[in-house]
């Protein structure tokens, strides 16, 4: 029995030392799992793709595709299968794969379509992009300087956040933060209402619906604050308290809008149902 234990301990030791030590200190020490986002996730996805487990876009978002790929890796390499990238998993992954951080980040920042499979020259895995998605493509304003885009609830897209941020910035950039979230919430409340078009684009560009569309201010480049406001609204916040309309009493010309039941005032806007 003692002999078996010694042999087992020896085998375990050998297997740990047998992990190639390519890049063991590349990851941060943080444990990451579903919902995480950022540099560590980019590295995780790239390394999993290098080994052939991850076949989706490298986008820095730890979603289900990353989760299954990680679980398969853990299973194949005899690690506890939990879909969590902890210290052991990261160490094993670093040992068995290479990660060229500079190259991956450069592709993300350039918005290129690319993959990162091991054994294939990198120059053959990249397609220069001039916009749109693919390979963690990063050409829209909703991305940060690491090339990762914003994480939104599944029913929304990066396009939605961009379009809504434009609308919020054009309509309410001088308003307090809660006023900006409220404007975004009004757009989303309209999406749920049978009285309005059933897409975000349809709502924003409905003729005569938004002043910013009529005067062209919707095309101004939105700032991070407007994007954050949209993100909060998409995650459920509604400072307008279920409003479907808002107006500025100093500039409103429609008599009809005054007939709507008012809910509250935030900054220069009155919100109503």
């Amino acid at each position: 029995m003692r002999f078996v234990s010694i042999v087992f301990a020896l085998m375990l030791g050998i297997s740990i030392f047998a992990i190639p030590q390519n890049d063991a200190i590349a990851f941060t020490e943080q444990q990451i799992s579903r919902g995480a986002y950022g540099d560590d996730v980019i590295e995780l996805q790239a390394r999993l793709q290098y080994l052939g487990f991850y076949k989706s876009k490298i986008d820095g978002k730890f979603g289900y595709n990353t989760y299954w790929a990680l679980r398969i890796f853990q299973e194949k390499y005899g690690l506890p299968v939990d879909g969590v990238a902890g210290a052991k998993t990261k160490k094993a992954l670093s040992g068995y794969s290479d990660y060229d951080e500079g190259w991956v980040k450069a592709q993300l920042n350039a918005g290129n379509q690319f993959t990162y499979y091991g054994g294939i020259p990198l120059e053959r895995q990249v397609k220069t992009n001039t916009g749109g998605g693919g390979g963690g493509g990063n050409s829209s304003g909703s991305s940060n300087n690491n090339g990762t885009k914003t994480q939104v609830p599944p029913k929304y897209t990066d396009r939605d956040i961009q379009l809504m941020a434009n609308a919020v910035y054009g309509e309410a950039r001088g308003e307090p933060y809660e006023g900006q979230v409220a404007v975004a919430a009004v757009i989303l409340n309209r999406l749920e209402s049978p009285e309005f078009p059933n897409t975000i684009s349809g709502i924003i560009f409905q003729p005569l619906a938004f002043t910013a569309v009529a005067d062209g201010q919707i095309w101004l480049e939105p700032n991070e604050r407007a994007k954050e406001a949209v993100l909060d609204a998409m995650n459920g916040w509604d400072p307008s308290e279920n409003a479907l309309y808002y107006f500025n009493p100093k500039t409103a010309t429609s008599k009809w809008i005054w007939s709507r039941p008012q809910i509250k005032r935030i900054g220069e806007h009155i919100f109503c149902s």
Partner: protein, 427 residues
Amino acid sequence: MRTMLVILTAAVIGLGAYSINMHGKNVSLQRTVLAQYTDNLTDASEKLSHLQRSVSQSLLFRDDNAIHNELDSVWRLSSDVRSSMSNIPIGQEMSNDWLSYLGRLGDEAKKTAETGDYEAWREKMPQISTNLQSLSDDWSAATVDFYKNNGKMDVWLRQVDTKNPNTTFDNVQKTLKDYSEKDFPLTLSESDWQKKIELKALQDSVITEKEALEKVKQLFPILKDATFTVTKSSDTAPYPFYHIQFHQDIRLGYVDLTEKGGHLISYLVERPVDEARLSQDEIMKKAEENVKRLGMSDVAFVESRENHQAWHVTFARVHPGDNALVYADGVQLKLAKDTGELLGVNAMEYIQAETIKPQTAKPIDWKTFFDDDVKVQEVRNIYTDNGSYEQRLCYEVIAVRDKNAQETFRIVIDAENHNVLKVEYLT
């Protein structure tokens, strides 16, 4: 002097040419937009006639297949007219009424096709068909003026803005409103849903402004020294609440509390956020602590999302009867990535609290329910809306298609009748 005159003349000629050019471009642009609006208007009017005919035709058949085809046309055409109507500048109120009427007609056709309750359709539709014919005729008469505007956008917009109460256009609007109420009255479930979102169920006693402020300081101790501005909701708001704005050091934000009982509706702070210092695990622990501290101990974790500055974490109430998650009774928290400070709480859905009717769950054999290359990974019981404002007990299935495990779906299936209520593609 002579040189000045030459320069001035050249400038005037240049400006004049530029102005003529710009004017020409503007007129051309206006004509293009007007042409598109007119096209949408024509399209809407024509399809409205088709829709009326399709509703009428649906009443011809006893044969299931034949009626099914007509229901499909009603659903498709109502969606098409809806889309055209939403793309013409006809005033918000008129647009709302049209979209609502057409949407309800389409939903009715879809529901009938799904449930096979053709008798109810046959009973209801003769009157709707007549009303739709009358609406279609009125609409054609009312919009005829829009074709007589000599290609000028301002004439069109004047037509929309007219305040004369006797115009044919206003008559359409009045008839539309009237028919909407008669043809598609609120169902019991819709009425219950309306009451729920208007917080009619809250029976607690009213709290004062001072008590509301105390409650805020108790819920969010970080604000104990903040400067507050308290306002009350408008008299016409569906439910009365206190809107409390605050300023504390680097923090600016608001809290909304119901006047009845001082229930937390939402809280949101804006402050600069430094680089992330806490791990995902630490953030989740803080989220769990906060949700309990706020008195919501009957909830369970659903999902989390990390972004540039903060984590958004979602919880849902656990139904005491069967431990299924009630998604409609959700709570969302926002936590700063630097310190884990609570930056936001959204408890609106939580305080609306759904009334859940008892339901049974019939087991499903996943091997026969899904295709061979689909692997079921996770199943949990949840309550969710079935699209008709009813909370249904469902199986929430996370399934992966193809052996490479790269396509993940979330499928929500009614646990009693096994109808698929929702399919989402997850990345």
